[in-house]
Symmetry: C4
Subunit: 219 residues, 4 copies
């Protein structure tokens, strides 16, 4: 790796029309695609016989399939979110590209968390690790939005109040997952149902979106 | 994840010329490429000795290689189908992008189904799981076509009759695979030969394509 | 999968400027990238202790590393070859896209062949399987060139003599690897050294390239 | 593989606007994305019980997570470096594309090195293998820069002195890692802390950048 003088690095800004912008997107999509697809390698094939009752077998598969599905929805949801976020960017800065790597670290680790929970579904320790991972990804998402705001990367720059509101919304899933950690020690694996609170929490938050009331009044 | 107000989300339409259209395609291709390539990780290397008869060895490899090949053809076939389908789209809607994830869920799981059948080739339960997977993918393909129709994403919008006909055709492989499930409990692994009926079934269906008779008369 | 009427399918030709051309290339690159990278999953980590002699350890790693390296060079070489081949294409036909899948089947299987040879380096049966795989890829490469010729996909169409010569050259590695099969039963794993004959064989063949003598005379 | 006449091959130069340039970048990104994401497959899920102390568990995970993180930072860092390097290229030569493969060989092997160190953290032999791998990647990076210089691929060609300086900077991480090998036999796994010297070493080197003093004087 060549030395980096702070000056020329920080100034580097890549527009939508250059290979460098698309390449960061392509690398992200590659990591997302590999991460979401190798989740399947964590599914263990049950040993069955021709006489195994199919219903018993499907019931046996259910828990590991459930944790597979949760992770698929989480990674897929973050991909869609990233897809929509990048569609609002006009340029990328060096800081944003470095941030991308940090964000993808969390995305890659989700398959580890899935295997962990799948193998130790009853252990609060496994739920803790998974919740910390999601909180990391959720926290990083807000950081990425802040970097894009700070470096002026948006096509249409949002106002400061709107930007802060969006960062807080990014952090909601993280807060919900962190909340499930102490609960896991009280109520065991039932604490995972708390994760479903992410959707209503975000729906409630959306009602406080700055400028929205006025917009609705205008209609 | 930031909150999503139903209005701005549903309206988002990405044309062929923007990164967002290509990115959905690239992510799909990534998942397809990983899914089709990691099939090979399910192939178990047989332990042989310098004295092992090569013929015996190849015969021993045959069953797991057969299920590998079926899945390669299925994933590859759906990729080509998706390739041709997307070539008819002028734009993508948010609903279509969400659908893509649901479709890719099925594609990713095929490698699990392959390992399942490979390890339990004689068990009707394994054949059931594989057939349900293919039925899911087949069903989702028709749903995707319907979303594209509903949101007006095609370059040349097909007529309603044509659209319904195409959705039904999408579902033919699913119906054939579902049909093989009860048969698996009657005739065991021979039921997998029913899967080959997909091709003649689609060829017969093609004869009923709306507008085709008139076209042929015109010639 | 929707039905395919032979007419509209066979006629589909995608130029360099459309998503469909690039997508086939991107999917190929995805499979090549995954196939070449997951080779590393076949490398087994030796159990060593702080007292293990490093030299002993490296010598122990050598055979599996050698088969890893051969496969890396083979997949990488075919990627470069495919890269150069596609650079000569102006369009892609449906037949060419289907061919791509058949070609990628062989590329994906190379990692299986590598694990097979790695686990059974002394067995002629393993060498046979690997050689058949390479022969398949080599044979398919010539078929792809022929399809591109038949469907008129090249920017500058080569003459018939030149095309036939190139197809024969594509098949040279396959012939060399097939030749190593009987030798494997006579001289064991030494037969793998025959594979190195691919390079001189291609160098000799290059001297018979049609039109080359005249070109050289002209200089 | 078709024969390659030295003439037409060596002359092939692909500009930024053609598929061939982008394809080499896309293939590199694919290998980087797969390599960085499959690192996670090396993380072993610890068997825990509902009574396992979470703190004990996290401490137990720490060593393998540390080697995961080092490799993530190394691969990610080289991806960013490659991203920035390619952004300076106007064209790619055949030699550069072949070099890319050799470079990616090192990148792919890092996940093997990670598993090796993870399984044998106390063995100097494992540290040796990892350090050799990084030295290879570091050395190759300098070679790539030299090829780009020799073949005139840069948008703005750097001067000879600047080019030589940059190649030396590319080699700094390699030298630091090679230095850690003899130390591993003296001080065991503590030698890995030497790797952190890469950053200060590069910062010191940056002060000797040709032309920089004059630039600073001008300010």
């Amino acid at each position: 790796m060549a030395r980096r003088s702070a000056q020329d690095t920080e100034r580097a800004i890549y527009g939508r029309d250059v290979t460098e912008f698309d390449r960061t997107v392509a690398f992200s999509d590659g990591v997302f695609a590999v991460a979401i697809t190798i989740l399947v390698l964590g599914l263990e094939v049950p040993e069955i016989t021709p006489d195994t009752d199919v219903w018993t077998e499907l019931v046996e598969l259910a828990p590991q399939f459930a944790s597979y599905l949760i992770s698929f929805v989480v990674i897929g949801g973050y991909w869609i979110q990233n897809h929509r976020f990048v569609s609002r960017l006009a340029t990328m800065s060096y800081a944003y590209i470095v941030w991308t790597l940090g964000f993808l670290l969390g995305i890659s680790l989700i398959s580890f968390g899935t295997r962990f929970v799948g193998a130790n579904a009853e252990a609060p320790g496994a739920i803790t690790v998974y919740a910390i991972l999601i909180a990391y990804v959720s926290f990083m998402e807000g950081i990425g939005r802040h970097i894009a705001y700070r470096d002026g990367l948006f096509r249409d720059m949002p106002g400061l109040r709107k930007e802060r509101f969006d960062v807080l919304c990014d952090w909601i899933p993280g807060l919900v997952f962190l909340l499930s950690i102490p609960l896991a020690f009280l109520i065991g694996s039932n604490a995972t149902f708390v994760w479903l609170a992410t959707w209503p929490a975000m729906a409630v938050a959306a009602r406080f979106e700055p400028g929205k009331e006025t917009e609705e009044e205008a209609n």
